[in-house]
């Protein structure tokens, strides 16, 4: 299991550490600093083995978090723990920075004592941690005996993520379908790979212990329902367009996985406040909101001509925002002249790229930029690697085609029904890694 956790600043000084196992000596701290933080080379692996001691690290801004162990631990678990630790710290004091860590070292000590016991991760849900972590005085000192046992049963219980007795005057929930669409396209316009990774983020302000059921246009469900309908064909024709094939999805721990496995229904008791309900991935029938058509021509050894056309590919009534096209330029660029029809374009020498920004663009439109790049003559034999042209944007629909069909809320003990809950649904599609090779 985890032998210890060290938190370093960028210089390799230890800000906080906690050792859980006797086999981890003080020299482990130095070993990691010398071999990883101060290493001249770029980090070649997030797992390092130094003298039979293994180090796992993640970096957040310029802070290094390193887990050290001498055993054959579950490596995936260690990284998941480190991410969780970062989340917990962030929810307590915001950004993980040297200053914040120094300001909260007692809290971190207490958290580390509670989250890990003898190197075994225990409870890492911020919601329930806040009920009994004493630092930052979230809860006062005057808990009744009842409250105390409530805390412990919640921490260890089946619904560790939600406490009893939550009350709201207005029962409200917000659903955000956030998708990032990823594309890798060849210069000839062939899709090399494309996928959408989506998240359903929910903010719930609901009283009591509500039971929720979430439904979307999942192909498997719709087909199942369609088969029960009048005719098979009719079912297909209606569902064919509207349903989507989900490759895979993962759920927040509140979702009953066995129920999803057997009935493919998503039912759960939600945590209070904001959380991520599910993640999913689709690869079929993705609406690619933009198409990039590059044209790069080398004119002699000292000049490049670049022409890039972007085409928007969605309903004309919708507007895409925050569009940014990044056209890489060679390292030996001496000067750039740009002409664009729409938006603003600038050559940024420090980033070795032409950045073209367009505030808004409607669907089914086209825009173009052309640039002349002057190059310094070099005797460098190595060819320019030609990084791909990348794009950023935001569109008000889900590129996967996912639609929320319903979110039902049941709370039998309190007197509010599904109709009384105010529900908001929003779709945002963003570019993930959206690249076209040139």
């Amino acid at each position: 299991m985890i032998g210890g956790l060290f938190i370093y600043n960028h210089k390799g000084e230890v800000l906080t550490s906690r050792v859980y196992r006797d086999d981890i000596g003080r020299n482990a701290v130095d070993a990691f600093r010398v071999n990883v933080i101060h290493a001249r080379q770029q980090v070649r692996s997030p797992v390092t083995n130094i003298a039979r001691t293994s180090f796992f690290h993640v970096k957040r801004s310029n802070i290094w978090l390193a887990v050290v162990t001498k055993q054959n631990v579950n490596a995936a678990m260690v990284f998941e723990f480190l991410y969780k630790m970062c989340d917990v710290m962030a929810s307590y004091f915001g950004k993980i920075s040297e200053e914040n860590i120094k300001n909260n070292f007692v809290l971190i000590y207490e958290l580390l004592d509670e989250i890990l016991d003898f190197g075994y991760p225990q409870n890492s849900e911020t919601g329930s941690l806040k009920t009994f972590i004493t630092q930052q005085g979230i809860k006062g000192q005057h808990q009744t005996k009842e409250e105390q046992s409530q805390i412990t049963s919640q921490v260890t219980g089946q619904i560790g993520w939600r406490r009893e007795g939550i009350k709201y005057r207005r029962n409200e929930l917000f659903l955000d379908v956030l998708e990032s669409v990823n594309l890798l396209m060849s210069p000839q316009g062939q899709v090399l790979s494309a996928h959408v990774s989506g998240r359903v983020v929910m903010k719930s302000y609901l009283s009591g212990m509500p039971e929720c059921k979430f439904g979307m246009n999942d192909k498997i469900i719709i087909d199942k329902a369609g088969k029960g309908g009048v005719t098979n064909e009719a079912g297909k024709s209606t569902s064919g367009k509207q349903s989507i094939a989900i490759d895979d999805c993962t759920f927040n721990q509140c979702v009953r996985l066995s129920k999803f496995d057997s009935e493919r229904s998503i039912s759960f008791i939600p945590p209070d406040g904001e959380y991520e309900l599910m993640r999913y991935r689709t690869t079929k029938d993705i609406i690619l909101p933009f198409r990039v058509i590059p044209l790069v021509r080398e004119v002699g050894r000292t000049k490049l001509e670049v022409k890039v056309v972007i085409k928007s590919n969605f309903k004309p009534s919708l507007l895409a925002q925050k569009i940014e096209v990044r056209i890489p330029t060679p390292l030996n660029t001496s000067g750039v002249q740009v002409i664009c029809m729409k938006g603003k374009a600038k050559y940024k020498a420090s980033e070795n790229a032409i950045v073209w920004k367009i505030k808004r663009m409607a669907g089914m439109k086209e825009s173009q930029i052309s640039a002349e790049i002057e190059l310094l003559p070099t005797n460098d034999k190595k060819k320019w690697a030609r990084p791909p042209i990348s794009m950023n944007f935001e569109v008000p629909f889900a590129p996967s085609g996912l639609k929320v069909r319903y979110l039902k809320v049941f709370e039998s003990k309190l007197n509010y029904s599904d109709h009384d809950v105010i529900k908001w649904v929003r779709y945002i599609g963003r570019s993930g890694i959206y690249e076209t090779r040139c």
Binding site: M1, D22, D23, Q42, S45, P46, V47, N49, V58, T69, K70, Q71, N72, N74, A75, A76, M77, F79, E80, L82, K102, V106, Y109, E110, D117, F118, Y120, P121, Q122, S124, E125, Q135, K145, Q148, S149, T152, S153, V155, T156, G157, G160, L184, L192, D247, D248, T250, Q253, R256, L257, S258, D261, M278, R279, R281, K381, K383, R386, S390, I433, E435
Partner: protein, 909 residues
Amino acid sequence: MTDSKYFTTNKKGEIFELKAELNNEKKEKRKEAVKKVIAAMTVGKDVSSLFPDVVNCMQTDNLELKKLVYLYLMNYAKSQPDMAIMAVNSFVKDCEDPNPLIRALAVRTMGCIRVDKITEYLCEPLRKCLKDEDPYVRKTAAVCVAKLHDINAQMVEDQGFLDSLRDLIADSNPMVVANAVAALSEISESHPNSNLLDLNPQNINKLLTALNECTEWGQIFILDCLSNYNPKDEREAQSICERVTPRLSHANSAVVLSAVKVLMKFLELLPKESDYYNTLLKKLSPPLVTLLSGEPEVQYVALRNINLIVQKRPEILKQEIKVFFVKYNDPIYVKLEKLDIMIRLASQANIAQVLAELKEYATEVDVDFVRKAVRAIGRCAIKVEQSAERCVSTLLDLIQTKVNYVVQEAIVVIRDIFRKYPNKYESIIATLCENLDSLDEPDARAAMIWIVGEYAERIDNADELLESFLEGFHDESTQVQLTLLTAIVKLFLKKPSETQEETHTYTHTNISPSFDSDNPDLRDRGYIYWRLLSTDPVTAKEVVLSEKPLISEETDLIEPTLLDELICHIGSLASVYHKPPNAFVEGSHGIHRKHLPIQHGSIDTGESPVSAGPAAPIEQAQSVIPSQGDLLGDLLNLDLGPPVNVPQQSSMQMGAVDLLGGGLDSLVTVCMFIFLYLLSLFPQIWLPAVKAKGLEISGTFSRRQGQMYMDMTFTNKALQHMTDFAIQFNKNSFGVIPTTPLPIHTPLMPSQSIEVSLPLNTIGPVMKMDPLNNLQVAVKNNIDVFYFSGLIPLNIFFVEDGKMERQVFLATWKDIPNENELQYQIKECHLNADTVSGKLQNDNIYTIAKRNVEGQDMLYQSLKLTNGIWILAELRIQPGNPNYTVKHPPNLNSPNSELRSHLLFLSEV
């Protein structure tokens, strides 16, 4: 208010001040003071002298203050054991506190204090806490048992805590169950033989129920524990799998990987034709792909595991190659791993896409990555024949870029392509030769030299090229030197010079640099070639220019038993390092090596599911040598050319079979036999455990009291016992067969070994083997049938009645025409005639006569083989001169060379 202020007090008398504050009336002041103490502790100041004062603050009902004091105690108790005792009472009292959080805190902290005196006091409170009404206390107590076990294992056993832990598996609270499982799993690792966890169907059911309800971490502990269970039949395996599959949709990647581990293990038990088996395989692929959309570190762990899964069950991800395409922003460690998997998944169906990708990668910046990409293109060419042509042209394009490391890497892979597809792409040699000067890495230089040597006849200036390498011969690495040596010999054989004289000088000047090398391999190879060439160039040609075995399509495959073991460690560090845990965990040598479950009922069929993966059948695997053969493999794998028929002298031919028909030529055999002879004297591992599912066989051949024996040691390195041994020989040159069945009657238990002596005779069927003394053996046990081959040292065939009558000897010797005699010198042999004769007699080589001519001892030797063939030799020994001269009839050269090698060996002694 921030904590950083605690760090700033840095005045003199700080400790004194803190002391005063710790004893302050007000709780708030005391709390502040303890925080300051802890701050000082963090930055490495010694605040141990405040121990009594801090302990005083322990007596409080304030949870925050208590936690702070406990933190301090944990840190200093070890260095202040006597004072730590002062705290014991408070601990014991806190374990009775009405607040469950405090009870748990006390028992948790006490377990962290590794002081013997304290552990004594821990037992009673721990016992109570294990039965506490509050689940939070119980789950903390469960972990505490593991802590105590780490400090004092005996005490844990004596106090019966292990039983209490086992009871907790049935606890109503899922988190208590999970922690109990974690603690038991850890403890049982140090007791490999005890059945601590006692996994039976009832317990498994409890675990599966808890699995649905506990925290993500608890799910990991339970899944990891489940993976150690061996279901009794496929029904049970299937029902567990059904309850584990929902975990594949968990957001926590560790839960997913641990579930994959359980499923991969239990898949072994499911019948392959069943629907469920195939459904399960299909279900495994999406979650694995999803892992790749996580954070880079988790992606890395996932990719290392996918690498294993792809080797074990390629069908799972064969459709998904696109997700392994490298993204521009991936960290380098993710890129390299993805590339590895891409090569493994490359097939005819997707090769076009893969090649296009690889070509992109080859223009990237990171040197390691680019090299790997270039290498990958080469692997594709070898793996998918249809793509070879495109791969080669891609590689040529890359060579044109003149980027140094790209060119070098490309040349290395082109060599392998040449080997795979001989006589197909030689037209590109000219292009390769243009880049000769830029090669500065040993691998690339060796590859280029190999190509020049191999195709010397097509390269006009091959001799000049090689000479340019020769100039700096002594500065080259051994690898390059060896290749260069071989290339020169090839060149000479392919383009012999006009006159004998010239040839002689040419080779000598070129080979001789190796003679004074410090490296014995290099020197020996130099001598071997030299003698070969100077004696019999025709044979040399047959040997050196023989056909080479094919190179394998897959590279870097993990050896199957290790792969199976690593599959049992999916998700863990072992799977990231691709090494078994005992390779990197200290003091783990006694730990059980994990192995995949074996399908029941499959034993009789002789096919175990362990080998059911992509692993090739053993025989096939042996016929393919890895692309980087070592020197030994190199020498022994030399294919001998077709037999050259030399007229036989029938008078000498008493045996029925023409075994010694000159198929082997003298010098080759000398070299080889020296080798083999040396090898035969020491027990050799004939069948390594990794090739035979844990069965290792080593041994030697010997001749005792006129009887031949095969002395073998059978070792069971597997985890199951072995029974039903049997042995069989393939037909061989001398008709060797065992006279009795294999005398192993008792089962061979794990890590046990048994020595057997198998008497042999030579009345079996005869078939000429290559080399002559090769013996192919099949050994069967309850697991499988294994094949190996060993070389029988010739001297065991020398029979006791090999002493020829003097008259007969004389007559026969005279019958041999003079021009048929072969002479050979044995150098550096410091023995006198009597000793030699004695030593030879031990091996049934008899001295018929001895005479002294002009101060030289002449020994006349005879020996007889089991098949009745006689061998005669004359040995001339000059006292004071360490060189022996052997003269013998050439048609009997083969065994005679053995004789000489025997003498050679004596000289070594």
